[in-house]
């Protein structure tokens, strides 16, 4: 809650002239005036302590009476008008704020609390937290409680807390947004719709989890293919860098048993069975017993072919990752769109007080 607004718009032409005169003034007295000071000024010698409390109380009572006149007038205009007059509300808030401070200083807690309620109700109306009709009715009740408490105080000399307690009960019953209500009323149709949406949201969780798992598997496959690629690359580079007379005594034969094994493992693990590879596998199984009728592959051919196959495995795994990512992304987007819908629906629920008709 902020301080009640006040500002330049309230300054009359005379007020503005006073401000300008003050701003234009350059010289002030440095010594205290010889003569008697202005009416607002007095010193300790002029003041006696007798009856000060009575004086202060009398001033306070007079102040409250004046404040009540202002409040009644503001209420009368608010009740009469079709629209809420913000100037009237501001006047009410300011008077209530002032009274809250002075009643607190005078140690009248019930008056201070009622004044605080008036200020909060006026602010709730001004900020449209409560409707004008409900708000003005609440203000009427609050001002009535203030008058009753004040009259009791003047008559009996003691503050009666009952009007304040009754006002608090009334305000709680209205749940005017002055405090957050414990319960709110919502349309059953909207609630049913919201529950349906949340059920659907729960159902959407399974596809998201499945898509996530598929993507994890695809990533593992890619990882395996990359490892295989690196392993083959090392092996092949070693073979290539070795002098041919030591590692490959028979150039007409396809390859070493080690290389054959490596490629075969690669083919099996990656399940790549295209015709060319199948032929290659068969040849590898029996390299020495059935010399090829075709032109024998050189080591260079074999090296290129092996690298191409490993690369094909990588491409396949990468493509699989891409596909599963697209699927996961689409499923997740659908899920998130549904989350947004649910959130919007929740925000659209009208938080009307539980006990309002």
């Amino acid at each position: 809650m902020n301080e009640p607004p006040s500002g330049e718009q309230e300054l009359s032409a005379e007020d503005k002239a006073i401000v300008e005169a003050f701003m234009a003034k350059e010289r002030w007295e440095t010594a205290p005036p010889e003569s008697s000071p202005s009416p607002g000024v007095s010193s300790a010698q002029q003041e006696t302590s007798s009856g000060v409390l009575d004086d202060v109380r009398a001033i306070f009572f007079s102040e409250v009476e004046e404040d009540l006149v202002v409040m009644r007038e503001a209420l009368r205009r608010l009740e009469r008008g079709n629209d809420i007059d913000s100037a009237r509300l501001t006047a009410l808030r300011r008077v209530a704020h002032k009274l809250q401070g002075s009643a607190g200083m005078m140690s009248y807690p019930a008056l201070a609390a009622i004044a605080s309620s008036i200020e909060r109700i006026a602010e709730a109306i001004a900020t449209r937290k409560i409707g004008p009709l409900l708000g003005v009715n609440a203000l009427v009740q609050a001002v009535f409680a203030l008058e009753t408490t004040f009259n009791d105080l003047v008559d009996k000399g003691v503050e009666n807390d009952r009007p304040h307690r009754e006002l608090e009960t009334y305000l709680r019953r209205l749940a005017l947004g002055l405090q957050k209500p414990s319960f709110v009323r919502v349309e059953s149709q909207r609630l049913a719709q919201l529950m349906q949406l949340t059920d659907h949201l729960a159902l959407l969780r399974t596809p998201v989890e499945q898509a996530q798992m598929q993507m994890e598997r695809a990533l593992q496959e890619l990882d395996a293919a990359q490892t295989r690629w690196q392993s083959l690359e090392t092996e092949l580079l070693t073979l290539v860098s070795r002098p041919r007379s030591f590692g490959f005594p028979y150039d007409i034969y396809p390859t070493s048993f080690r290389l054959a094994q490596l490629l075969q493992d690669a083919a099996q693990q990656n399940e790549v069975f295209h015709p060319r590879k199948l032929r290659f596998r068969i040849r590898l199984i029996k390299p020495d017993t059935e010399p090829s009728q075709e032109k024998p592959e050189t080591d260079d051919d074999k090296l290129i072919r092996t690298l191409l196959e490993a690369y094909a495995n990588l491409t396949t795994a990468s493509s699989h990752v891409h596909t599963t990512f697209v699927h996961f992304s689409s499923t997740l987007n659908e899920y998130m769109a549904h989350v947004d819908t649910v959130r919007d629906e929740v925000h659209l629920l009208p938080p009307s007080p539980a006990n309002s008709k």
């Binding site: 301080e3 009640p4 006040s6 330049e8 300054l11 006073i18 205290p32 202005s38 002075s102 201070a112």
Partner: protein
């Protein structure tokens, strides 16, 4: 030695009376006003002198306490004038706004007059009663 002058600006007559009374009892000279315009009108009068301290309510009509403080502090003659804000609110923002407007202290209502006097005297010293 002249008595220290304190200006009290508050729209509540009861609070003005309470503050005036306790300050005068301590020996200060007090000038009190219902709003900032009244205070400025007094300050433009020929016999006016610069107050040593201003007790300034924030929720004032016409101009709020921050605006009044800013107006006073634009004048170099008021550089040494201590401004003490009075408010019912105890918010950090209000305190900060008060500081930015030139206030030295911020007192929340309701306050105990003894504590109030202690704060005033921490700035102006204890007056010598004649």
């Amino acid at each position: 030695m002249s008595s220290k002058l304190i200006m009290v600006i508050d729209d509540s007559p009861a609070i003005r009376k309470i503050v005036e009374t306790c300050l005068r009892r301590e020996g200060f000279t007090v000038a009190s006003f219902a709003d900032g315009i009244e205070a400025m009108q007094f300050l433009t009068s020929p016999q006016a002198r610069v107050p040593d301290l201003v007790v300034l309510d924030i929720g004032l009509p016409k101009m709020d306490g921050y605006e009044v403080a800013r107006c006073l502090k634009t004048k170099p003659q008021f550089n040494n004038t201590v401004i003490i804000m009075l408010s019912r609110r105890e918010g950090l923002i209000d305190r900060l706004k008060g500081r930015l407007a030139g206030a030295k202290e911020y007192i929340t209502k309701p306050f105990k007059t003894q504590e109030f006097i202690q704060i005033i005297e921490s700035y102006l010293g204890v007056p010598m009663l004649i």
